[in-house]
Symmetry: C2
Subunit: 382 residues, 2 copies
């Protein structure tokens, strides 16, 4: 591929990852052509982005014409059509939640290079997405910092590793007691110690659900059994993950916690490009890196996610749907922080799973889980 | 190369690295044929090794017949002839000191794969050795843990890194004051906190000369300018070195401090082989990794080495020769610990360097430096 002219579509361009992707492109303008921009909200920002990057393809709320047409002319289309558009070679999936699943599948089926920041696509439908990618020769390149770290450490290695070690910051409530955790507010939970992220991912980081989803994602991305994926809390968020190989050697990837690096690496791979805007680690300021095992008991979402991933079937879809609604209810003050895990757990317990589900069955399980959480919170069920 | 039948010669088989190389071969017997064993001392152990591994080629003190012939029949030859023998494809250079230079050059000229544990070959004659390797297509694979770490981190990367970060344990006298350092004994210096090594390397680790030699070695092995090689003290000796890339991403290699891993990796590359005898990192016991800048003032050997490497010419040979004799004099109680650096510094100052030296000129500079240190210690010079 000619690295001087990557033809990019960014789905979710007004979100945190989307904006940082455009930051990378701004810093390295000759490397990319922005062919498409898609957003589900923040039409003002999308209009600014359109004016700046002059994309030929635009999508807003998937099927609506943009209310603020910019000066450039562009074609309005669905995110799926943008993901499979012939002029696009690289699709950045920067949407959060289950909205990422359908365009990911469209991009993969069209054989595109998919730079994936969305977790739900692989968590909910890993078998379907990876199966299509294998059939169509589409490459799925991770943008999550942990999976990017693992991918970087696997670079050049010939064999399957013996263990993946995902690091976790531990979130803002690391070392909190269960009693103290009951009292935490949405404001506290949104104040992540090391990463700037969107609200859903930030709350998932606080519950460790995010790390559980990442375990499932790693299982699919790197074809690793769940019992060979380990989690290690590392509060400084400098070691982004590690890989242990057959001979016992371990490789780790380190950097300043800044999502622009994994975004750029997915776009530059197999090259690495200098970017003066990316911060470098300052070893005069790093005196120690700390590690500790995660507290599975105080943060039950982690184990719930790993169990749902291991059971597979429609459980991961239920996990995602239930968590998404529970987080919304927490952010709007309807439930407490520890209720997020309770809602997810009860919904998983009540689920009648379907083996080898189709995409429709996965989406139906997700929808069922969302309703179920609302019912649980409204007190309609036991 | 058929990995099931590496045809190995081990030069320095009775030393620390040589014995650990044979440990690796013992654990993975079907991977290797031991074609040659060479030792400069400890003929009893060599005889045992001959009886166990039945090599076809043997060398003792380079040109003498072994005094204890074992039951097997073998050809006695010089280490240079062993290094270039047609039946050998991989030569492990496990001799310490300048004795490693001549067989390294012989192996490189014969196009062998050279697994290099000896530092002096590259430090003294890096330009000549690397030039011959490039001409003959010989590969030089590092066995030093730091260089193995860098090499592992570079695996699969397409471009030159932006920085190499060599870690250093700091040795047994880390954080010692200059006054306290004056009083340390050979026994204390031989008691390294994390690595089991031969006496010369152990003293060099205590003075940090070893790290300085490694900087020069890294310069040649990875074609990196000296100002892009950084040293970081890391007392736990778990992170063996790191590499920073153009985009600011850093990769590190970690393992239990055990030389058998870098030895095996040099022998298994590009594969990695499971070896139940190699210890794995236990993340339940690792709670923190510490880093600090080195103390160049208290440990002047580090800067002396980097300066000699940067000036090149015959200075690195003088550095090696002077250090080897100074360490001998310290071990025999003739000079104090801090006198090692003083002897090396004064010898470097008095040296009349030769630009673009031949191998003979390099060896002559080494010999001059050895004499000079003895003269300095005997008080014959100012």
């Amino acid at each position: 591929m000619d690295t001087a002219s990557r033809q990019i579509a960014i789905l979710g361009s007004t979100g945190s990852i989307g904006q940082q992707t455009l930051d990378v492109i701004r810093a390295l303008p000759h490397r990319f052509s922005v062919i498409g921009l898609a957003a589900g909200q923040n039409s003002d920002l999308l209009a600014q982005q359109i004016a700046e990057f002059q994309p030929r393809l635009v999508s807003y709320q998937n099927n609506q014409a943009l209310q603020h047409p910019a000066s450039a002319e562009y074609e309005v289309l669905s995110i799926e059509d943008m993901a499979r558009h012939p002029e696009v070679d690289t699709v950045v999936i920067a949407t959060s939640g289950k909205a990422g699943l359908s365009p990911t599948l469209a991009a993969v089926k069209a054989g595109k290079t998919v730079c994936l920041a969305n977790k739900e696509a692989l968590v909910m439908a890993g078998r379907i997405v990876c199966g299509e990618a294998a059939r169509k020769g589409a490459r799925i390149l991770p943008i999550d910092s942990e999976h990017s770290a693992i991918w970087q450490c696997l670079n050049g290695e010939k064999e399957q590793p013996s263990q993946l070690i995902l690091t976790a910051s531990g979130g803002p409530f690391r070392n909190y007691s269960p009693a103290r955790l009951k009292e935490v507010t949405a404001e506290q939970a949104l104040n992540h110690p090391s990463w700037q992220m969107g609200p859903k991912v930030t709350i998932d980081s606080a519950t460790l659900m995010n790390k559980g989803l990442e375990v499932i994602e790693a299982h699919w991305l790197f074809d690793m059994p769940f019992d060979k994926i380990r989690i290690l809390v590392h509060p400084q968020s400098i070691v982004h993950s590690m890989v242990e190989f057959a001979d016992g050697s371990v490789k780790a990837q380190l950097s300043h916690p800044d999502m622009r690096l994994p975004i750029q690496y997915a776009l530059s791979y197999p090259e690495r490009w200098p970017n003066p805007q990316l911060p470098r680690l300052d070893w005069n300021r790093i005196s120690n890196l700390d590690f500790e095992p995660p507290d599975y008991k105080t943060f039950p979402c982690l184990k719930l996610a790993i169990e749902a991933g291991t059971m597979e079937e429609t459980y991961p879809a239920v996990l995602c749907g239930a968590d998404e609604v529970a987080v919304e209810l927490f952010l709007s003050g309807r439930i407490g922080f520890v209720d997020i895990a309770r809602c997810v757990e009860r919904t998983l317990e009540q689920h009648q799973a379907i083996a080898n589900p189709t995409l429709d069955e996965i989406l139906a399980a997700d929808a069922w889980a969302r309703d179920r959480v609302r019912q649980i919170v409204e007190g309609n069920t036991g």
